[in-house]
């Protein structure tokens, strides 16, 4: 065993100091929260039960940065998405992140759906997304020449964008960390007590004290409240979404995000490009009890493939690269469950169901305002440090294009040896294959590890909780 390092993100005891704000859960919401509170001058610590951050709902989504054109008018969700979009736009370049303004089309495939477009258009304008407009089948064909000619009409949403769903939250947390926040991984919260204005939370790595707690435990948000507060303010029923990822060659078949006309329950099956250069189809919407089982199933996947081919006929000759599923932390209500409990110095941030990637920065601002309303003040950081993220987007200038990157380990995704070694080191060391994939994209390409698993097993041999291999 390694000698215990003080306050290491991944092992040893937790901090003895009393922090101002303790965040439970390092999903995209927790990461954005840690960043906002740190920048506002609070002493922040964040606890994550998994070995790597983004291990819950945030591990798999469609990676679309929404404008909020279709969010419920007047909702907190809408306000957070709009503010989240605005702040992302403001900070992403400086942090080395990406945003591809590919736009979206809500496509009507039946006359019923055509009838619904008016309403969506009106709602978008009510929501303040004024550049949304109705377009004809012909205009749609010009914009998306590979789309099936069965499309009848559409709404164009020019500013819907795609982003890197992992690098962004990593960058939020890295900035918090760089400016003083403490990150504790493998530290699951199991209980706590509130005494004389101070919280003491017990975790799998010992106890930690804080003045305020913000619960961002996503899929486990209600369970954390039951364990710590005795009762939960909301109940989570995970809603699974499965996806199919097609070969990179397929990404040239669409330009924008192809959205269906939504139903009351879900926005439906989307065809979208990723910033990594793939084309994906999904998600499904399936309620389930398990909070961790993100299984794919053959029938659902086949239906997605058929749906994709119906919309983009040329997809039929495209190989399939990957399948994945994500779990939405859905609650009884569609609206976000952001519930402050001033008497208990506790703020619940739950039920961030299907727009958390877009809303995270806005949610963090909103929660900070609620915190200020509790009468709390800090001195804003004057010149916060801005660490630069490692870019993974296909069109960006990647590490393999620079000097001295070592060998290319993953040939399909062009992941360099240097990128892997860096990701395995502090400050947020990858300690599972899943974590390393999110930080580097290794094995996520068309061969799915055929060529690189062996090298990777060697490179990661003393790093993972669940190692890839053992010595013979």
């Amino acid at each position: 065993m390694n000698f215990q390092m003080e306050k290491s993100p991944s092992q040893g005891m937790l901090s003895n100091d009393v922090c101002d704000v303790l965040i439970i859960g390092a999903g995209v919401v927790g990461c954005a929260m840690a960043r906002r509170f740190t920048l506002e001058g609070a002493r922040v610590a964040i606890l994550e039960k998994a070995t790597d951050i983004l291990d819950g709902a945030s591990k798999a989504n469609s990676a679309i940065l929404h404008t909020g054109f279709d969010a419920p008018p007047g909702s907190i969700e809408l306000a957070c998405i709009r503010e989240g979009y605005r702040e992302y736009q403001e900070i992403y370049k400086g942090m080395g992140l990406v945003k591809e303004d590919c736009g979206a089309h809500v496509v009507a495939w039946s006359s019923n759906e055509v009838d619904n477009l008016e309403g969506i258009h009106a709602q978008a304008h009510e929501n303040g997304v004024m550049d949304v407009r109705l377009i004809s089948a012909k205009q749609l064909q010009n914009a998306e020449p590979n789309l099936s000619t069965k499309a009848l009409a559409a709404i164009a949403v020019p500013r819907e964008s795609i982003i890197d769903p992992w690098s962004a939250p990593y960058a939020y947390l890295a900035q918090a960390q760089k400016n003083g926040a403490e990150v504790f991984l493998s530290a699951g919260v199991s209980g706590g007590k509130f005494d004389s204005g101070i919280w003491t939370l017990s975790t799998t790595r010992g106890t930690i004290k804080a003045k305020h707690v913000i619960n961002c435990a996503g899929l486990y948000g209600d369970l954390v409240e039951e364990a710590v507060l005795g009762e939960a303010n909301f109940q989570i029923t995970p809603r699974k979404g499965q996806f199919v990822v097609f070969d990179k060659a397929a990404s040239k078949l669409v330009n924008s995000v192809i959205l269906p006309v939504p139903t009351s329950r879900t926005i439906g099956i989307v065809v979208f490009r990723t910033v990594f250069g793939n084309l994906a189809v999904g998600p499904t919407a399936e309620d389930q009890q398990s909070r961790c089982d993100a299984s794919v199933d053959e029938d659902a996947v086949k239906a997605l493939i058929a749906d994709g081919i119906a919309k983009i006929p040329d997809l039929k000759d495209m190989p399939i690269t990957a399948l994945y599923a994500g779990l939405r932390p859905a609650s009884e209500l569609k609206e976000y469950r952001i519930l402050p409990q001033a008497k208990k110095n506790w703020i619940s941030v739950g039920g961030i169901r299907s727009t958390g990637l877009s809303g995270a920065l806005g949610i963090a601002q909103h929660v900070f305002k609620l915190y200020q309303k509790m009468g709390l003040k800090h001195k804003k950081l004057k010149n916060p440090m801005v660490p630069i993220a490692n870019v993974l987007a296909e069109k960006a200038h990647r590490d393999w294009q620079r000097k001295d990157h070592g060998d290319i380990i993953c040939h399909c995704e062009m992941v360099s040896e240097r990128e892997i070694k860096r990701a395995l080191e502090e400050p947020l060391p990858a300690r599972s294959l899943a974590g390393l994939k999110r930080q580097t994209r290794v094995t996520m390409g068309r061969c799915q590890g055929f060529y690189c698993t062996a090298r990777l097993a060697e490179l990661t041999k003393d790093h993972f909780e669940t190692p890839l291999s053992e010595k013979i």
Partner: protein, 425 residues
């Protein structure tokens, strides 16, 4: 004698993408034919291709008349190429193959562009991963293709599990069994979807196979587990499911050509073979590119790929000397009906060839999905141009002599040749 590639020297005559058996033999042949600069670009630290990862017999019967283990075989091919004067650029990935032989390559020093008069595209095959097989279940560690398992065991001295299930019975499943035996892993079962074992097993293997329960007509339907594989669910021909406890899954075979350079660029890829679409000299849709070896189609042995590479070397040398028919001439496209999986080459020149032209592939290669007896028919439009009764199996190539195809019925020299296999009950 063999030397490392230096970009500053004279222009490259032939660039070879991929230093497996096919690329190596093509390069060696070209040097022996007197071509000045032949450079093999290989993204791994050493050339040799898949055999370098296969620490077992038998390789090299065709080339060296003696059974060798994969790595020794690969080393011999590399040594032979070096002796012939082939240059090597190792740890070099070709990341773009552009028009007219313009390549983009990456080494640790970063990317650079180069060009060659001709390019030989020889990137081989890989196995179908879990995702593309649409297997249900959560993502768990311990699901590997044979190729990944072999390089882990033979190159890194490591093993990913101890009691795996082996899926499939193509010849490569034999490699999986050998690799398990070598690394102290005990397969708990071997599963085949079809009614018979796909490969003709080498008799030397029976002692090993006898210790592994073989489940026929059984399909893998789900993989279960937490962080790692815990069990799999299989379904038999009667539709009954059962679970098998195991700590790993080896997904063997279902080979696909590694044609991503083509697919991402301008070289046409055939959706049937999933390799580049070629004529009988292996010329791609951009005639500065020639495909060879297993990239052409799934799948042949190392020895056969080596043989193909050798021919490709001769054809490329002939092309450099102006002895192949002009690419723009009329050719017959080739296609198959659904009982067959593919036909290669996908484009055939007939009737109008010059006497001085070098002959290319002598046969069209075809494959079936499952064992079938029937009449194989080639036709152009209404006209049957060739027919024969055959008995075919998925692992065996079917060969149709190009010289026997009566293309005279196609007055314009470009009628589509369609192969179909009509089953006899």
């Amino acid at each position: 004698m063999g030397k490392a590639f230096n970009n500053d020297e004279a222009p490259i005559d032939v660039a070879v993408i991929g230093g497996g058996p096919a690329g190596l033999s093509a390069a060696t042949t070209l040097k022996q034919a007197g071509i000045a600069r032949v450079v093999v670009f290989e993204r791994e630290p050493e050339a040799g291709g898949i055999p370098r990862h296969c620490g077992h017999y038998p390789f090299g019967m065709r080339e060296f008349k003696w059974p060798l283990k994969g790595p020794a075989y690969a080393a011999k091919l590399v040594a032979r190429a070096k002796r012939a004067g082939v240059e090597f650029s190792l740890n070099t990935s070709v990341v773009e193959a552009n028009r007219s032989g313009l390549l983009r390559v990456v080494t640790s020093a970063g990317p650079k562009s180069l060009s060659a008069k001709r390019v030989i595209y020889a990137t081989g095959v890989r196995e179908t991963p879990r995702s593309a097989r649409l297997v249900s279940g959560p993502r768990v560690q311990g699901v590997l293709n044979t190729g990944a398992l072999q390089s882990m065991v033979y190159l890194e001295g490591r093993r990913p599990f101890k009691r795996p299930v082996i899926i499939g019975t193509e010849l490569v499943a034999f490699s999986a069994i050998m690799t398990c035996a070598h690394a102290g892993m005990k397969p708990v079962a071997m599963i085949e979807q079809n009614t018979s074992v796909t490969a003709r097993w080498p008799t030397a293997l029976f002692p090993w196979i006898n210790n592994i329960p073989l489940l026929m007509e059984t399909k893998l339907v789900e993989i279960k587990g937490g962080d790692r594989v815990r069990e799999i669910v299989v379904r038999n021909g009667k539709g009954e499911t059962r679970t098998i406890e195991c700590d790993g899954v080896i997904l063997t075979g279902q080979f696909v050509p590694e044609a991503s350079l083509g697919r991402m660029g301008h070289i046409k890829v055939d959706p049937a073979t999933r390799g580049p679409s070629v004529d009988q000299w292996g010329r791609c849709s951009d005639p500065t590119y020639f495909a060879t070896g297993n990239l052409l189609r799934p799948v042949e042995t190392a020895g056969r790929s080596w043989q193909e590479g050798k021919q490709t070397g001769l054809w490329v040398a002939a092309d450099l000397a102006g002895k192949l028919p002009h690419y723009e001439q009329k050719a017959h496209p080739v296609r198959v009906e659904p009982t067959l999986i593919y036909a290669m080459p996908q484009r055939i020149y007939r009737n109008n060839l010059d006497a001085q032209d070098v002959a290319g592939m002598t046969h069209v290669q075809l494959r079936v999905v499952k064992p079938i007896k029937g009449e194989l028919i080639a036709s152009i439009g209404e006209h049957v141009i060739w027919r024969k009764n055959i008995s075919a199996k998925p692992e065996r190539r079917i060969e149709v002599p190009i010289a026997e195809l009566d293309t005279s019925t196609s007055s314009n020299n470009q009628g589509e040749i369609v192969f179909s296999l009509v089953s006899q009950a």
